[in-house]
């Protein structure tokens, strides 16, 4: 296959012709690259991705890939340079891709983003559970569409609306229906008065569930109003979540639905199957937490397989007693007053499982874990004589994580807490 044929094959297989013909898709590719810079700027110094973290047991694997640490190969400072070498190589690819965009070599710019996408997908979905920010899910889906799928413009627009819609599945809960997430905070919601909390939170539910679909309609007054709402919504949410989330979503929102917006016809034909399958997978991921019995906001089982922004305001207290051969028991106590620290029993389990594996002198670890959501009482959701002896099932109910409905004992009441 000569080079010209290869270029033609590449353009055809990944529908790159669509990019050549659309200033919107070209701008979207730029926005995508910007988000890769944001991502790897953090990852280059992410200790939890390194082999040193695995040796120390402070990495975190997904429940469906609990031995992910076996695959780590990067060493970070101050222990080694491989992580920095690797991420500076990615930096060079990003710089080259950015330059290619600038000089109009869109195939090169597009092709150079594949290694970025593949590495990010591997890390986010397989090798680490530490990068489960919802903006990463947005970014990966935008990447998959722009790099690989046909009907890029339609599916990019649809995916933004689909994300808004699916996120409502995480919000139909007193956290949002009554606004308990924010009224449990000492600082409440920024700017908006606490007395009307359910009004604000239900307005967001309405906009994401109903009005977001108007973004895809004809360029009318309503389409403009909803677009402007979501621009302000993301700017407002930045008051809590800082730059990262709006920096990933707002550029794409602006490019796809802003001044350049024109309605895109619904595509037909077998080539649409890839896009619909991707949208279907997002729906499946979102539904897993609802299919596992119990309040997923408390157990957090399946919570991270879909969107989960501000799903509940968490507080917890953890007490572990480590029994070692020929030593006095060691007690470790830890508490979290931070609303967005998810207080996930799985993370507690995973952390102590590493200790059980790494330290041969450990005989058993007794763990008590008290968890409160949305200002409701603390319940003892975990009370195990030996956490080393239990397993964690990734897609079904783990009976050792209790809720108030299945007998977790009330321990007391939480103070209003902080988001930071």
């Amino acid at each position: 296959m000569n080079l010209e044929k290869l270029k033609h094959w590449y353009d055809h297989v990944f529908s790159v012709e669509e990019v050549y013909a659309s200033k919107v898709l070209k701008a979207a590719l730029g926005a995508l690259l910007f988000a890769y810079f944001l991502t790897f700027n953090v990852w280059i110094s992410e200790y939890r991705f390194t082999i040193e973290a695995v040796k120390e047991g402070v990495h975190l694997c997904w429940p469906y890939a609990q031995n992910c640490g076996d695959w780590y190969f990067l060493s970070g400072l101050p222990f080694g340079y491989t992580a920095n070498i690797f991420y500076m190589f990615l930096f060079a690819l990003m710089g080259w891709s950015a330059w290619s965009m600038l000089v109009g070599k869109w195939r090169t710019a597009h092709a150079l983003m594949w290694p970025l996408f593949i590495w990010k997908t591997v890390m986010v979905l397989w090798l680490s559970m530490t990068q489960v920010g919802n903006y990463e899910y947005y970014h990966l889906v935008f990447s998959a569409i722009l790099l690989a799928l046909p009907h890029k413009l339609f599916f990019l627009k649809f995916s933004v609306v689909w994300f808004y819609f699916l996120s409502v599945a995480a919000k139909i809960h007193p956290s949002w229906t009554l606004g308990l997430y924010f009224s449990s905070l000492k600082t409440g919601l920024p700017i908006l008065p606490d007395a009307l909390m359910p009004v604000w939170t239900n307005a967001v539910i309405f906009m994401e569930m109903v009005a977001a679909w108007w973004l895809l309609g004809p360029k009318s007054k309503w389409q403009r109003i909803v677009f402007i709402f979501f621009v302000f919504f993301h700017l407002y949410s930045g008051l809590l979540v800082n730059y990262r989330y709006p920096a990933t979503v707002l550029p794409m929102l602006f490019i796809l639905f802003g001044p350049w917006y024109t309605q895109t016809a619904i595509p037909k034909g077998w080539k649409t199957a890839f896009g619909w399958i991707l949208m279907g997978l997002l729906a499946v991921g979102q539904s897993i937490s609802h299919l596992i019995p119990g309040d997923e906001k408390s157990t957090l089982e399946g919570n991270f397989y879909g969107l989960y922004m501000f799903e509940a305001n968490h507080q917890c207290r953890e007490e572990a007693v480590i029994y070692r051969t020929d030593q006095d028991p060691e007690t470790r106590v830890k508490g979290s007053f931070q609303a967005r620290n998810r207080c996930d029993a799985y993370r507690v389990w995973f952390k102590y499982q590493q200790l059980c594996k790494l330290d041969p002198s450990v005989e058993r670890i007794a763990v008590k874990f008290d968890h409160s959501i949305n200002g409701n009482p603390f319940y003892r959701t975990v009370d195990l004589p030996n956490i080393c002896a239990v397993d964690y099932k990734p897609f079904s109910r783990n009976a050792w994580i209790k809720t108030d409905k299945d007998g977790a004992e009330l321990q007391g009441y939480p103070m209003r807490n902080y988001y930071y």
């Binding site: 819609f165 409502v168 308990l180 539910i205 619909w276 507080q315 007053f337 007391g412």
Partner: protein
């Protein structure tokens, strides 16, 4: 930052997360409100699936 504090009993001397008057008024109906929202969610899901996945082929 302060640590998480567990207060053994409901005590007004502590800054506990009490419901606002509006929240307290709405709380008894929250289950029904949630069910209504799920109904709208399900309706919209099927409506949009029909619009984007089925209708284009029906009217081809």
């Amino acid at each position: 930052m302060p640590e998480s504090i567990i207060v053994p009993v409901i005590d007004s001397n502590y800054d506990l997360a009490y419901l606002s008057p509006l929240q307290a008024a709405l709380a008894p109906y929250e289950v029904w409100w949630s069910l209504g929202l799920w109904a709208v969610f399900a309706f919209l899901l099927f409506f949009q699936l029909h619009k984007y996945l089925i209708a284009p082929y029906l009217h081809a």
